[in-house]
């Protein structure tokens, strides 16, 4: 079984770690302090957004090793650009735009096709997701079908769906990460949902 690339394996239900959870200090305050040279403040921003940055990079590059380098480089570049960051603007979309740029550059230089390969569906394991074995099997089959349908989408639609639903990014963040206008995010998302629905209703092949 080849190692799946691009899309994480699907396992039992796990509570997704909440990213950007503010433990007291707001992003604005941290950004302001980081701008004045407080290393600990920037450290906290890095800690807060490592997971989102890493997963976004992973979706684009399809490689955990590349995603780590991309996310790290993006944080370094963001730090250098802090002086140009508009005070009061949300930090996460701005950071994800940098991550998206870095990740696309990395993917281009590696000569890879768009990531998001969905063979990960084979690894699904319902685990504790549902209480009964029947329910588990049903849930597992449902996710398997959904992953198969996602795999049929064109890359550009699949990436929008992955950012919007798998990473739970906002339209603005998705647009920034993928370097496309927000209107394009919405139209691709709508087309993707229509197509997914058709695929889920149609008899599955392969």
């Amino acid at each position: 079984m080849p190692e799946p690339r691009g899309l994480p394996r699907c396992s039992g239900y796990e509570s997704r770690a909440v990213v950007g959870d503010p433990p007291g200090t707001t992003d604005d305050e941290l950004v302001e302090r980081a701008r004045r040279g407080h290393a600990a403040a920037y450290d906290e921003l890095v800690r807060r957004y490592t997971e989102t940055a890493f997963r976004t990079a992973y979706l684009v590059t399809g490689s955990a090793a590349d995603a780590e380098e991309v996310a790290q480089d993006a944080f370094v570049k963001a730090h250098r650009a802090l002086s140009r960051f508009r005070a009061g603007a949300p930090f996460r979309p701005w950071l994800l735009r940098i991550v998206g740029n870095e990740a696309r550059n990395r993917r281009r230089s590696a000569g890879r096709r768009a990531a998001l390969e969905l063979r990960a569906a084979e690894h699904m394991d319902a685990g504790a997701f549902v209480p009964s074995p029947e329910g588990a099997a049903e849930a597992s089959e449902d996710r398997r079908a959904l992953l198969w349908a996602l795999d049929q989408l064109p890359d550009e639609q699949r990436q929008v769906v992955a950012c919007r639903y798998l990473l739970q990014l906002s339209v603005e963040e998705t647009a920034g990460s993928l370097a496309i206008p927000e209107g394009t995010v919405k139209s691709r998302q709508a087309r993707a949902l229509d197509r997914l629905r058709e695929l889920m209703e149609a008899p599955r092949h392969g």
């Binding site: 790290q72 370094v76 629905r197």
Partner: protein
């Protein structure tokens, strides 16, 4: 629309059920990256500053800067910036002993009051070498004081409690060095020209001590106030004697 919402909910559930590769702790790598980026920027700033200085120096030397009219005349080649002295000082590598924090400290170490050439003013660096007890005033090149054989040194004035005489230079290697007796500030002295890479001897209370000249330039050496004073520099005989005349 309800079907769309259901689909969106299922996609969100799928996202929650996915097993992502664990996100590494990026903080140490980010901190190191920020430090590297800072060092790179600092290097660039220093290079830009050096280039700007070189350009300004060149333009000024060509007397071609005119701020109001913003005229900058092109010069045939950029002057190379004066190399900055090594961290330990321009005297590093000249076997001058230990660099001293001040002239007063050097005088305390040497046990005598230094004679300073008023024409050159306060030295840029002061050194003291215990054996054979030589105190050195080092002057970097400047207007009127060209660099000597060493591009970072205009002149060294070296002083030791001793005397010299004609026999001090008996061991000078043949091959072009000329020793010309002169009188400087009333004391016996010599103008030594032509690659004086050789030993000479101090007569001192502790016995004769040998020493060597440090620079490739000509040397004016004389007795004054119980000290042997020598000036090694890129100055010609007249220039060296003018400087020597202000030593007190």
């Amino acid at each position: 629309m309800a079907e769309h919402e259901r689909l969106e909910r299922r996609l969100a559930e799928l996202g929650e059920a996915l097993e992502w590769p664990p996100a590494p702790d990026l903080r140490p790598g980010v901190q190191a990256g920020i430090r590297r980026a800072r060092r790179r920027r600092l290097r660039l700033v220093l290079i830009a500053a050096a280039l700007a200085l070189a350009l300004l120096g060149g333009a000024a030397a060509a007397a071609s800067i005119e701020l109001r009219g913003a005229v900058i005349q092109q010069v045939p080649a950029l002057p190379s910036p004066s190399p900055s002295p090594p961290a330990g000082g321009a005297g590093m590598g000249l076997d001058l002993g230990q660099r001293q924090p001040s002239l007063a400290e050097a005088e305390r170490a040497a046990g005598f009051r230094a004679l300073v050439p008023a024409a050159l003013g306060q030295p840029d660096e002061v050194w003291y070498r215990p054996a054979p007890g030589v105190l050195t005033l080092l002057y970097r090149p400047r207007a009127g004081l060209p660099s000597s054989g060493d591009p970072q040194v205009g002149a060294v004035v070296m002083e030791a409690r001793a005397t010299i005489g004609r026999s001090s230079f008996a061991k000078l290697a043949p091959g072009g060095s000329a020793v010309e007796p002169v009188t400087v500030n009333g004391g016996q002295g010599f103008w030594i020209s032509g690659a004086p890479h050789a030993f000479f001897f101090y007569d001192s209370a502790g016995g004769d001590r040998s020493d060597t000249f440090r620079l490739a330039g000509d040397v004016l050496i004389w007795n004054q106030a119980g000290l042997v004073v020598r000036i090694e520099s890129g100055l010609d005989k007249g220039g060296a004697r003018r400087v020597a005349g202000t030593v007190a």
